[in-house]
């Protein structure tokens, strides 16, 4: 369970490929852009991957691709101290009140 990362799935049994495609939403494109821009500031793709790999298996399976990305990017920024949990909480509350 620990020895093999949940993301490390090459060769495991799985179902038929569902050839779904979707037009990426604006928020997803912005999440992608944020990750790329923060990469330019030294937040590496490797750190973000580590944070994705650290997601609980159920979350890894159930979250969409960019949902995983935005969580991983947030974790990376928190770890680096670029943002704090308190700042994030304040901001999320502020944004929610606006909507």
């Amino acid at each position: 369970m620990i020895e093999r990362g949940h993301h490390d799935m090459g060769g495991l049994p799985a179902g038929k490929v569902k050839r779904t495609e979707h037009d990426y939403a604006e928020w997803e494109r912005r999440a992608d852009a944020l990750a790329v821009l923060m990469g330019g500031k030294g937040v590496t793709v490797d750190e973000r991957r580590r944070h994705i790999e650290a997601l609980p298996p159920e979350a890894y399976d159930k979250l969409s691709y960019y949902e995983r990305w935005i969580v991983a990017l947030t974790q990376a920024l928190l770890q680096r101290g670029i943002i704090t949990t308190a700042e994030l909480a304040r901001k999320m509350t502020q944004v929610e009140r606006r909507a």
Partner: protein, 95 residues
């Protein structure tokens, strides 16, 4: 920067180790034997970059070719089918 240890055509074995941390050597290939297809160059170690360290000195990265019939028990396909994977030098031993 140290010289790459392996050259195209060398037979190598992937370490049969299961360390924690961020690893880019897939589980399914550990312990298997393959042939160096090319040297990709040297790059900062992603295992270290993932831990917010600089990953230097850069490590040689190889593409290694494995016979599918040797990797998967009961593989059905052409006996010459292969899987080719990029593996960092510190995961490889001479075979």
């Amino acid at each position: 920067m140290p010289e790459p240890r392996f050259r195209p055509g060398d037979t190598v074995r992937v370490m049969k180790a299961y360390p924690l941390g961020h690893v880019r050597t897939p589980y399914y290939i550990r312990g298997h034997t393959g042939v160096i297809e090319r040297i990709c160059g040297s790059f900062p170690n992603p295992e270290e970059l993932a831990q917010m360290r600089d990953g230097l000195p850069a490590q040689p990265l190889y593409r290694v070719r494995f016979m599918q019939k040797e990797v998967w028990p009961g593989y059905r396909g052409n006996a010459a089918d292969v899987v080719e994977i990029e593996i960092y030098q510190h995961w490889l031993e001479p075979a």
